[in-house]
């Protein structure tokens, strides 16, 4: 069971979370939605394409110019309020590791805090509990935000991801977060090399078996690029292949750049799994 913005989603329902960057330098869009106008346009477009959630972020994941909490708030808080005003029913997520930012965006209308750096600021889960928000608990292997993995090693990366994310989720629930709103994310490429991310994808069913709703963020990442030897901009097919496998294993939320393509893959996998009827079948039945 997954509960977001007061709505319940059964295990067979997959949600698309569209990435909306309020950054000048994110790896994929390189500042395309830095200004308010294009960012709101992006929200309208992804909603039109079938996104269930928008994930608004003010700081790119990779190392770069330091963005303090005040600047991060300037980038996201008013924008969250503007999106909330235009889309009263849309589930709004904010990608942040800072509790102070989390509190401000919840008050502006956010429903979900995407703690992409794995509980680096323990106050963020407390904010989620106080604000009645959902929380994404991610596995980073304990690295500092905005650092790259360097010679990272795990006895068993899947075990480590499960133990870490479930522990964060249990702590969040103890603090008061709704158990159906404590989502776990193995965090492909965060504190992991490509082999680790591939193994997490291959064994994602083990995370799903914890019973917690699972989010995956696969979109155009380096593990896709290294697997296929392709640069950013040519990784959609690989991303969608990883999406299909994750959907087959039972992941429920997909954080993506390309919404329409992802929706199609998720619908197709759901039909293969037998949990979604095909849209229209006539062949051989007339």
């Amino acid at each position: 069971m997954l509960r977001l913005r007061g709505r319940d989603y059964g295990a067979d329902t997959c949600l698309v979370m569209a990435i909306v960057n309020r950054t000048t330098d994110s790896f994929y869009d390189k500042g395309a939605t830095w200004a308010d106008g294009p960012a709101l346009e992006r929200v309208r477009k992804v909603v039109d394409e079938g996104a269930d959630i928008v994930d608004i972020g003010g700081i790119k994941a990779a190392p770069g110019e330091e963005i303090d909490a005040d600047e991060e708030k300037r980038r996201v808080v008013d924008f969250v309020a503007a999106v909330r005003a235009e889309f009263p029913d849309l589930i709004i997520s904010v990608d942040t590791w800072r509790a102070t930012v989390g509190e401000a965006v919840c008050q502006a209308g956010a429903d979900l805090l995407n703690d992409a750096w794995g509980g680096h600021d323990p106050g963020l889960a407390e904010v989620a509990a106080e604000q009645g928000a959902a929380l994404v608990c991610t596995h980073t292997g304990g690295i500092t935000p905005r650092t790259r993995p360097h010679r990272v090693a795990y006895d068993d990366v899947v075990r480590d991801a499960i133990d870490s994310t479930v522990a964060q989720a249990e702590r969040a629930v103890a603090l008061g977060v709704d158990p159906a709103s404590a989502i776990i994310d193995p965090a492909h490429d965060f504190g992991k090399n490509t082999w680790h991310s591939l193994e997490l994808t291959r064994r994602l069913d083990e995370m799903v078996a914890t019973g917690r709703p699972v989010l995956v963020s696969l979109s155009n990442k380096d593990f896709v690029g290294e697997s296929l030897d392709l640069p950013v901009g040519e990784r959609l097919t690989g991303t969608l292949a990883a999406t299909a496998v994750s959907a087959w294993h039972g992941a429920q939320v997909y954080r993506v750049h390309e919404v329409a393509e992802t929706r199609q893959v998720l619908d197709m996998v759901a039909s293969i799994r037998g949990v979604r009827p095909p849209a229209r079948t006539v062949r051989g039945l007339a």
């Binding site: 009827p277 849209a279 229209r280 079948t281 006539v282 051989g284 039945l285 007339a286």
Partner: protein, 231 residues
């Protein structure tokens, strides 16, 4: 005494669960429900279903083999399920809340005139009031995208059936060419001929009409009704 007959097609896609998100067969199903209501209005004591099948036989009630065509539910060996024509009839009767006793017969798709006459003789001349529900499809070769691709002779053949059903012309149905029907993938020839022969034993239809005739997926679907008793 046969008080009336209803003619319905029996494509699997009349089973609602087989067409996915879209109910592509809704207009056909609605027409079938309509002629079942007309048949029931003739106040029969019993319904006898006749549909095409691999062999000529009387059947006891059995599950509808939706799973065999890809639907959900418990798998049933096709040998233990109703043949398609009777299964679709069974479903239509269920949808319309039929409460009358039902008898189920198949007539072999390749039945010759003698076999047709034998089956018809078993249905006519009964003491009770009988409503015949006749399950049959026209040609499946009515276009390049049709299941059997295009055979131009389909149109004349199906037109003959259409005219015969709409006019209550038993002789025209009796005269259908069995070999041509097989070439055109017509799944209704023998069943329609049983209807014509059974009605002819007792007399002739007093009114007749076609309520639906179209080929939305390359197969001719014909829905019609005869009343056989002067009021």
């Amino acid at each position: 005494m046969i008080v009336g007959t209803a003619v319905c097609p029996h494509p699997p896609l009349l089973l609602r669960e087989l067409t996915g998100g879209e109910d592509v067969a809704a207009p056909v199903r609605e027409a079938c429900h309509g002629v079942l209501a007309e048949l029931t209005a003739a106040a029969p004591d019993r319904l006898i279903v006749v549909g095409g099948g691999d062999t000529t036989a009387e059947h006891t009630d059995a599950p509808v083999p939706a799973r065999a065509y890809g639907g959900a539910g418990t798998p049933v060996a096709q040998a233990d399920a109703l043949p398609l024509s009777l299964a679709v009839a069974r479903r239509l009767l269920g949808e319309t809340g039929n409460a009358l006793p039902v008898e189920l017969h198949t007539v072999a798709h390749d039945a010759d005139a003698d076999e047709v006459a034998r089956v018809a003789a078993g249905l006519a001349g009964r003491g009770e009031r009988v409503g015949l529900l006749v399950m049959g499809d026209g040609s499946a070769r009515r276009g390049v995208k049709a299941p059997g691709h295009l055979d131009e002779r389909s149109f004349a053949f199906d037109d003959t059936v259409h005219r015969a059903v709409s006019e209550g012309d038993t002789a025209a149905l009796a005269g259908l060419d069995a070999a041509l029907a097989e070439e055109l993938m017509v799944a209704g020839r023998a069943a329609w001929q049983v209807m014509a022969a059974a009605v002819e034993i007792e007399g002739a239809p007093v009114s007749a009409g076609v309520r639906y005739a179209d080929d939305p997926f390359g197969v001719q679907y014909l829905v019609g009704v005869w009343t056989c008793e002067s009021s």
